[in-house]
């Protein structure tokens, strides 16, 4: 990290504020527009997406369904209906193409909260704090499936902050707002990138859909890298960058292959040298 300058200052001076925030802005727009598609119905009576993130119908016709919730139901002993299967295939298929954790950075509302916490954490220069293993989320994901099977119910929906927040906004909040607030402060004060980067079982499930996804971030211009470390500072999963960025000597290609890259594009924005870009996972030399 450059100690004299703020993170991203170089990129802003080189490319201007707008171009060094373009993917971030686009991402926020998409997140808010999806929420608005749901909200349009209850607010204006124009029903575009009916339901919530767990399952919905687009224009009263196309079903869209969350695969992780359905998997919990399935191991819990409920056979999905045809409608649900179509919805799961549409959603799952989409994420198989664009990378599962696109859900995290482009759709999930909790991402806005944890991004805000990470931003404030950088601002206040709060040190890393509690060290959780990045693998904790996979343990949690498996544990949720095990419990779903044992109890015969969709277990994670009892706690899932994502759907709870969405339900709260769409159907009435109750005390549900406490959970995102708790996550904000957990990420801010307890563990850096704590929730989305280490714990969330939904994100870890979606990462499995990114194992072969064609759309990836590439460090094609890695020889231009000036080692300013800004990309590491803003990336919610900084461990995914290094193999692609510094792997030339070990013969690794420039594609960020880790399934936990959320395809958020923040590294593309923040890099003054234009090292990163969206591309495909193929031709990786």
């Amino acid at each position: 990290m450059t100690d004299s300058k703020e993170i991203g200052a170089l990129a802003i001076s080189r490319k201007g504020w707008l171009r060094s925030h373009q993917w971030l802005l686009l991402r926020r727009t998409v997140q808010v527009v999806i929420l608005l598609l749901f909200l349009a119905g209850p607010l204006t009576g124009v029903w575009l997406l009916k339901g919530s993130l767990a399952g919905s119908r687009f224009l009263d016709l196309v079903p869209l369904h969350d695969p992780y919730i359905q998997l919990q139901g399935l191991v819990g002993g409920h056979v999905p209906t045809t409608t649900v299967l179509i919805g799961v295939l549409l959603v799952g298929g989409f994420y198989l193409l664009v990378g599962g954790r696109v859900y995290c950075s482009w759709v999930c509302p909790v991402n806005m909260i944890t991004d805000a916490a990470a931003w404030l954490r950088r601002r206040l220069a709060i040190e890393e704090g509690m060290r959780l293993a990045r693998s904790t989320r996979y343990w949690l994901m498996g544990m949720v499936l095990l419990l779903s099977a044992l109890l015969g119910m969709i277990v994670w929906e009892l706690l899932n902050p994502i759907t709870m927040l969405y339900r709260g906004l769409l159907f009435g909040m109750g005390m549900a707002w406490l959970i995102p607030v708790a996550i904000f402060f957990f990420d801010l004060l307890v563990a850096k990138h704590g929730w989305c980067g280490h714990l969330c079982p939904v994100g870890s499930f979606y990462s499995l859909l990114a194992l072969g996804s064609p759309l990836r971030v590439r460090a094609n211009g890695r020889q231009e890298c000036i080692k300013c470390q800004d990309c590491y500072a803003v990336c919610p999963e900084p461990q995914v960058i290094s193999p692609a960025l510094n792997g030339a000597e070990q013969g690794r290609g420039p594609v960020i292959l880790s399934a936990n890259c959320t395809n958020c594009g923040r590294c593309i924005d923040i890099c003054a040298e234009g090292v990163f870009s969206f591309g495909s996972r193929f031709h990786n030399q």
């Binding site: 399952g55 544990m143 929906e157």
Partner: protein, 262 residues
């Protein structure tokens, strides 16, 4: 670095890795235990005041099926249904209604059921009158106006299945000695648990309430047979003709009690 040192380092790093994994696994297991108990508690019967939408699978299966999407809530034209907030007793995010607030209007075209994508509301329930959301019971017989001898009848009149699900059964009014009580009587064979009666009860707090079936219904011993039903099924009594002895009245001039005088 000597070979031994390299080996030591490899050993230490393996140890660190194993310890780290064990730590994570323990943490997750502990959390899982808590979540498991919480989940098990939530999957118990619903609180007495909360009814599931029509066609809901039984509670255990419902919680594996319902994805808490709220499409049934959206479909209901009477805003009967709502989704449970996390602090409520009903499993988080699942749909329910409180009859005293807004009862189910038993829409013949079943909007909630057709909207449900998951099968948590059983699509084979084509006749809404076959729904069994709960059962109405006149809980407080001391306050019910009809039990007191008045002709309130409001719950009876509000029932969509009047005279089938609820009837007024005539009984002698022992207090006045000369009037009739019209007792609201619910018949589980037809009661859908829609809650219209509870909603309409004129008292400050409803005397008639819809409660979950598990709460409302008793159960006969499996081997019990009701004689009169068996008889009508068989077309004849199942026990041999009983000897009908003449009723014995005190016979005052019985030779056994010659001295007795009333």
């Amino acid at each position: 670095m000597s070979d031994a040192e390299v080996k030591d380092q490899a050993h230490a790093s393996r140890r660190r890795f194993l310890l780290g994994s064990a730590k994570t696994a323990c943490g997750v297991a502990l959390f899982g235990l808590g979540l498991g108990f919480y989940g098990a508690r939530q999957s118990e019967a619903m609180p007495y005041y909360a009814m599931r939408p029509p066609g809901a699978l039984d509670e255990k299966r419902f919680l594996a099926a319902c994805i808490r999407c709220g499409q049934c809530v959206r479909a209901c034209p009477y805003s009967t249904l709502r989704l449970a907030a996390p602090e409520e007793k009903v499993a988080t995010g699942t749909p329910y209604f409180i009859a005293r607030q807004i009862p189910c209007e038993l829409c013949e075209n079943r909007p909630c059921i057709t909207a449900c994508p998951s099968g948590a509301l059983d699509p084979t329930l084509t006749d809404i009158y076959q729904a069994r959301m709960g059962l109405a019971v006149v809980m407080d017989q001391e306050s019910c106006l009809n039990f007191l001898g008045l002709r309130c009848d409001v719950c009876y009149r509000s029932c969509p299945l009047l005279d089938k699900a609820i009837s007024l059964d005539a009984q002698h009014n022992r207090r006045s000695g000369k009037h009739t009580l019209f007792i609201p009587t619910v018949h589980s064979k037809h009661c859908t648990g829609c809650g219209k009666c509870e909603k309409s009860c004129v008292l400050e707090k409803a005397a008639i309430k819809v409660v979950p079936l598990v709460l409302a219904k008793g159960e006969l011993g499996k081997h019990y047979r009701l004689g009169w039903e068996e008889k009508s099924k068989a077309g004849r009594s199942l026990i041999p003709e009983q000897l009908d002895l003449p009723d014995r009245l005190p016979e005052f001039d019985s030779p056994l009690q010659p001295e007795w005088k009333p």
